[in-house]
Amino acid sequence: MLHLTPTLKETPSQTAGPYVHIGMTPNFVEITGVFDKDTGSTMLTPDTEGERIEIVGRVIDGSGAPVADAVVEIWQASADGSFLAPTGPSSNSTPAFTGWGRQPVNGEGIFTFETIKPGAVPGPDGKPMAPHVLLWIVARGINIGLQTRLYFGDEQEANASDYVLNRIPDPRRRETLIARKEEGAVPRYLLDIHLQGDRETVFFDV
């Protein structure tokens, strides 16, 4: 099959700046009345199938300080391992699960997503990847959005054979992507994102 050759250059990235919340989560910074609610603030509906969980993390810079002005987005499969989306330009449908969420961090650099545990998605080798969530982090001082993944600490067997985790040469660095489970009425998965330093998170060029 003949492939097209790129003819244009991608628009260069620029930092989201310190006031990314104005554009992405305006209600969070008290710019109210423009959007009825912040885009991506809710991922679930009563019809969403799957195990309810929370994903909680902190974004921490190289000096150990919380990054208090970040926005984090996640993208994940449904409980059955598929990616669902409402289709068509005039669609009024609301999917039972959006798969996508956006949250600002608070003053301590902490973000929280209410979502479901995703199912396994087939990897490029045809074998299932371990359940995972993509994360994308933007903030002042980040010139191009950082892409990483969250894996689940209670999926040790699946994680051990995961396509992506196994491409991280240093096993200690794999641990930077694995969230620790905290039991509760709604289980929480905790993962800190270190932008640099001894525990620097693995970030991907995808």
């Binding site: 003819t7 250059k9 628009t11 554009g23 970030f203 991907f204 060029d205």
Partner: protein, 248 residues
């Protein structure tokens, strides 16, 4: 109708040309110092997770979402400043239009001040200007919005740095790996060339790509100037949205 995007579909993205983008660490822009990963990014190639992405219906937009002159009005009057239409086409690297994708934008007011509690600049707040809006591209990839021209403003990066007039943009595309945040500058602005954030872009042609062009033909007479700002997202060898998933 809900479509299931099947993992393993074709449509691998072209690799991102990192030399074209600002490197993570640009010491002239001091905030990058502690926010730059020191390890090389790990190249894994996009999997089904990165090749899919969220979609947004036109029904999720309000009627004034793309009118920053009126969408935050507190008393029925309009935002103060030089009135603008900003428009453009979202394309991919193969120059194919990217339809039905969410474009978000935010900016300072005409005086160069953001509506944010941490904003410290002396310029006045405009009570009728919030500074945010959004649009979804049409079937040919076009978006447009009305706003006022943002002012330049000082920031404490090197004691006396100034940001040129600019508008922030966030664009989704059809794959999560196409996700992009950038900034639009204005043709002919001498402030562009002294800005450390602009200077983080390695190639002058890249800076030119971030500079919207005055379009006298699309002005609204006796009302608003027009600027055109096209946006290019990563291209893929075969587009997911041509795979009949949308019933077209």
């Amino acid at each position: 109708m809900t479509g299931i995007i099947l993992p393993g579909s074709d449509g691998a993205l072209y690799p991102r040309d990192r030399a074209w983008h600002p490197p993570a660490n640009t010491p002239g822009y001091k905030s990058t110092t502690f926010r730059t990963p020191k390890h090389a990014l790990l190249s894994i190639g996009a999997t089904a997770s990165e090749l899919t992405g969220p979609t947004f219906g036109h029904s999720s937009l309000g009627p004034l979402d793309n009118d920053l002159i009126r969408n935050y009005s507190q008393d029925g009057t309009e935002a103060i400043g030089q009135r603008l239409i900003v428009y453009g086409q979202v394309l991919d690297e193969n120059a194919r239009a990217v339809p039905n994708t969410l474009v978000e934008f935010w900016q300072a007011n005409a005086g160069g001040r953001y509506r944010h509690k941490k904003e410290a600049y002396l310029a006045p707040l405009d009570p009728n200007f919030g500074g945010c809006g959004r649009a979804i591209t049409d079937e040919n990839g076009f978006y447009h919005f009305r706003t006022v021209k943002p002012g330049a403003y000082p920031w404490p990066n090197n004691g006396n740095d100034w940001r040129p007039a600019h508008i922030h943009f966030s664009i989704f595309g059809h794959a999560f790996a196409q996700r992009l945040i950038t900034q639009m500058y204005f043709e002919g602005d001498p402030m562009i060339w002294q800005c450390p954030i602009v200077a983080s872009v390695p190639d002058k042609a890249g800076i030119d790509q971030l500079t919207a062009k005055l379009d006298r033909h699309n002005t609204t007479p006796m009302d608003a100037l027009a600027y055109r700002f096209d946006i290019v997202l990563r291209g893929r060898r075969s587009t997911m949205f041509e795979n009949k998933l949308e019933g077209n």
